[in-house]
């Protein structure tokens, strides 16, 4: 009897623990040389963190807006989200049938941030996200693997990759799903991407202080640069039909 009880406790705690951390996976910290290679070639240091296994889905986001009325379509302030916010939903609290487990899209940075905050989480930092995104299903850093790069680049060309359920494809070696091949994802510090030469005016050197603008020294990772350019083009209230997010801790 006592053994049975003990067994129950073990089963329960394992079950509970499994449930509690099921959505987040721990990523061990480390340092890596980012592809943009700041002029000094300096490493990026990342402390250990947790990240969602999948992008946040329509179903999960619906739960959030149900509890947080200010983030419903009709209530949201224009300064925090554009008109197209959640425009793929049929109403404030209705998702198109069958899209429940698709990644949520058309969400602004402010909305994504508020969602994560409501769960006691935050958005991943750019360097954290990129570290997870370097991994293929069997290598921690697969950036030199031409097959891996080809896979990412071809997914950027595929239309409507956001119209599919999360967790259908093979996860990467961290157990993280859909970091490539589904949606672009918001990161907390997306506004840290400074690309000189985006050139809104002639002689744009005056647009930025200091000499730290991203200086590309390694152009081999084209996919990486596409993500950088994309982030640099974003504003925090933009809502885009192939841009979603996942949370971190």
């Amino acid at each position: 009897m006592r053994m049975l009880g003990a067994l129950f406790v073990i089963l329960f705690s394992v079950g509970f623990k499994g449930y509690a951390v099921a959505e987040l996976v721990e990523i061990e910290g480390g340092s890596y040389l980012p592809s943009y290679g700041l002029k000094t070639g300096s490493q990026v240091d990342v402390e250990s963190f947790y990240i969602d296994r999948t992008p946040v889905t329509n179903r999960e986001f619906l739960e959030f807006v149900r509890d947080n009325q200010e983030w419903q379509r009709t209530n949201v302030k224009g300064i925090f989200a554009e008109k197209s916010y959640l425009q793929h939903w049929t109403s404030d609290l209705e998702i198109l049938q069958g899209q429940e487990d698709f990644p949520v899209i058309n969400v602004s940075w402010f909305a994504a941030k508020a969602y994560c905050k409501s769960k006691g989480l935050r958005l991943p930092k750019l360097n954290e996200w990129e570290m997870v995104a370097m991994a293929s299903h069997d290598k921690k850093d697969a950036r030199e693997d031409p097959e891996f790069t080809k896979f990412i680049l071809s997914s950027y060309e595929k239309p409507k990759t956001y119209l599919k359920k999360v967790r259908l494809e093979e996860p990467n070696m961290y157990g993280v799903y859909d970091i490539h091949g589904m949606v672009w994802e918001w990161v907390e510090d997306f506004n840290s991407v400074i690309i000189s030469g985006e050139s809104r005016k002639e002689g744009d050197d005056g647009l930025f202080c200091a000499a730290g603008s991203v200086g590309a020294s390694d152009l081999s990772n084209y996919a990486f640069f596409m993500r950088y350019a994309f982030r640099a083009s974003l504003k925090a209230n933009y809502t885009i039909k192939n841009l979603g997010f996942r949370c971190a801790k």
Partner: protein
């Protein structure tokens, strides 16, 4: 009998209808009253609290009714910030000559960890930017990023004491809506001055 019942029902329903309208009208009045000056695009929706150069707490919406001229800087900046500060001073001097309207000149720190109110105060004194037209603000790391994102200001830490950042001076109307941005260093500020004068009227 049936007719009587019907008219009775009508009476009741019209009574409730009226009451409903009354409540509706009241709700609309209240909500209009509450959001009076809060435009959909107003920065005053940002609930964050800030500290000024005197260490006093500032809620952004207290600034309502002023035209705001805003720049993001940090005190240990050696490169562009002195130029941006000079530009703010020049704007203030030129506007003061032409108008006595309510304009606030706000310098927001992008380095809230280092820029204590004391450091901001020192910066204001060194540059002779004192008086209630000048406001130096320090938030948290989070509120600073929120604020920068409302201005589309990019910044990144490039060393423990240095940042790379956009050089943008932003002008907000009295309701807190971003109306105009001047990008770059040593650019012609005529458009900015005209806009401020127009908004302050």
């Amino acid at each position: 009998m049936c007719q009587i019942k019907e008219s009775y029902q009508k009476m009741i329903s019209s009574y409730f209808m009226k009451m409903g309208f009354g409540i509706l009208a009241l709700t609309i009045l209240i909500s209009v009253g509450l959001t009076e000056d809060f435009d959909d695009m107003s920065i005053y929706h940002l609930p964050s609290k800030w500290e000024n150069q005197d260490g006093k707490e500032v809620v952004l919406s207290e600034l309502k009714g002023n035209v705001l001229v805003v720049v993001m800087i940090y005190t240990s900046c050696q490169a562009a910030c002195p130029i941006l500060i000079g530009e703010m001073k020049s704007l203030e001097a030129q506007i003061r000559e032409k108008s006595s309207g309510d304009v606030k000149y706000i310098l927001v720190s992008i380095d809230p960890e280092q820029d204590t109110p004391e450091r901001l105060k020192k910066l204001s004194q060194e540059n002779k930017m004192s008086g209630d037209r000048w406001l130096f603000l320090r938030g948290t790391i989070e509120s600073t990023r929120d604020f920068a994102n409302l201005l589309a200001v990019k910044y990144t830490k490039i060393s423990p004491v240095d940042f790379s950042h956009s050089n943008i001076i932003s002008v907000f109307d009295k309701k807190g809506v971003l109306i105009h941005q001047q990008e770059g260093l040593r650019v012609d500020n005529k458009a900015t001055i005209d806009k401020i004068l127009e908004l302050v009227e």
